[in-house]
Symmetry: C2
Subunit: 246 residues, 2 copies
C-alpha cells in the first residue's frame, strides 16, 4: 500500500490519505476484500497521528468503500448487487428476489398530492388533480441501499393510496388493482451526488456518489401508471447489459 | 430561490449554499436552463460576502451543475448526452455520431504493457504477454466528458498498436484489423466519484460523481478482444432503456 501525501498542500492530510486509498480501489491495486494496512502501520509509514488516519478511514467508511470487521481490520468493500437491463422489465424488488437477496422496505411518506405541470404531463392527468406520492427506503443486509420515490396515477389503480407498502412490491400491487399487466417502462440512469436531503435518509454524506434512475411505467402507450426516481447508493449497485453488435 | 444556511454549523457557509442549490436541482425546483439569482441578490438575501457566494458557485461550476454565460448570468446545466442500452452494441463514438454530436478524442497514453493476472484472464492471453493499453480523453463541445481506458488483445488485431487513435473509432479499427465483426459486449455500470488521478485529466475535483462503465468486447464467446473502462462525467451523461414486461 503506497500512499502519497504532501504535508505542504492546502488539502488536509486525512483527505489526501482518503483520496489516495480511493484511487487505489478505483485503479484496481486495492480490490474487493483486500485488507488495508492497520492504523498503526499507516501512522508509522506516513508519520501522521492516529487521529489523522482514523479521519481518513471514516471518510471511506461513510462512502461505503471500506468495511470494518471487529478484531480483523478494515477491508475494501465493493459493489455486490446487480440489476440486469437486458431481461424483461423487473422492479428492483423482483430483481433482488431473483438474486435471493433479502431486503426490507420502509415507507417514509405516503400521501395524496396535487399534480404540478410536470407530473400532470408525465401521468397524463389534469394539473391539480391528485396522485399518490410514495417514498420508500430499501435496505439489503442492513445496508440502506436505495431511496424510491413513486408518483402513481390513482385513477388507473383505485384504492392504491390505502395499501400498506411496507415490504410489498409496487409493481404487483399496481397490476392487481389495475387488473392488468404493466406493459413497459422507459428509464434513464445518471450519476449524481446524493445531496443533503436524500443523504440524510440514506445516512450518507451529501457528496456520496449515487446512481439515479428515472422511470416512467406504462399499462399501455397512452396510460402511464407510475413516474418515479430511484436513488441507488454508489459503489454498491451494478447495472449490467449484454448487447449484440449489428 | 430559497437557500437555507446555518451560520453556527461546522459546515462552511459556501458549502451549505452549494449543497442547497444542488438539492434544488436534484429536487426539480431548479431545472435545466433556469437562471440562478445574481451573486448580488444572493449576497443580500443571505447576508454573506460576495466571496462566499462565488466559492459556492465555483463548486457547482466545477461539478458541471451550472454554466456561466458572460453578461447573462449563471444557469442550471443538466445532462445532455444519451446512450441507449436497447439498441445494438454501439461504441460511445458511434452513439455520439448518431446524435449528431461532434466530439474530439485525444490520446493520452498508448503503449504495450505486460498483462497482470486479471487482464490476462479477461483477454485470455498468457500472464506477462503484451497487450495494448490505450487511454483517451473525449470532449463534446469543449466539455471534457469521458475518459476511456482500453486494454486490447493485439494477437486478434495485429498492428493495432501502431494506429493513430486521435479521432478514430476503436470498434471500427478493431473490426478492420481483425477482418471480422465484433460479436457482442458485456458491460456493467456503476456510480463512483472520479478520484484524484482521473479528476486531474478531466479537470474535475476528486469528489465529482461519475458513471463508470466496465466492458468486455468479444469477437466470439472465446475471443475477448478488448477489456476497458469508460469514466463518464456525472450530470452530463444519461443511459436510457425501454424494457417490456413479461
Amino acid at each position: 500500500m503506497k500512499i502519497d501525501i504532501d504535508k505542504t498542500s492546502m488539502i488536509p492530510v486525512y483527505e489526501q490519505i482518503a483520496n489516495s486509498l480511493r484511487d487505489m480501489m478505483y485503479g484496481g491495486s486495492l480490490q474487493d476484500g483486500d485488507r488495508l494496512d492497520s492504523e498503526q502501520k499507516m501512522c508509522r509509514n506516513l508519520s501522521v497521528s492516529r487521529g489523522t488516519v482514523r479521519k481518513a478511514i471514516d471518510i471511506l467508511l461513510k462512502e461505503g468503500m471500506v468495511k470494518k470487521i471487529h478484531g480483523k481490520g478494515t477491508f475494501v468493500s465493493n459493489p455486490n448487487v446487480e440489476y440486469s437491463l437486458n431481461d424483461q422489465l423487473m422492479s428492483f424488488a423482483e430483481s433482488l428476489d431473483n438474486q435471493h437477496l433479502s431486503y426490507t422496505t420502509q415507507v417514509i411518506q405516503q400521501e395524496l398530492r396535487p399534480a404540478n405541470a410536470k407530473i400532470a404531463d408525465m401521468l397524463k392527468i389534469p394539473v391539480g388533480s391528485q396522485y399518490l406520492y410514495l417514498e420508500r427506503l430499501r435496505s439489503v443486509a442492513d445496508d440502506k441501499l436505495m431511496l424510491i420515490e413513486n408518483r402513481i396515477n390513482i385513477t388507473l389503480c383505485p384504492g392504491i393510496e390505502k395499501v400498506n407498502f411496507n415490504n410489498i412490491s409496487l409493481f404487483n400491487k399496481i397490476e392487481e388493482l389495475a387488473d392488468r399487466k404493466i406493459s413497459f417502462a422507459r428509464s434513464t440512469y445518471e450519476a449524481l451526488t446524493i445531496g443533503t436531503e436524500r443523504g440524510k435518509i440514506l445516512e450518507l454524506p451529501p457528496s456520496t456518489p449515487a446512481l439515479k434512475m428515472q422511470q416512467a411505467v406504462y399499462l399501455s402507450e397512452k396510460e402511464p401508471v407510475e413516474y418515479g426516481s430511484v436513488w441507488l447508493k454508489g459503489n454498491k449497485y451494478f447495472l449490467t447489459t449484454t448487447l449484440q453488435r449489428r
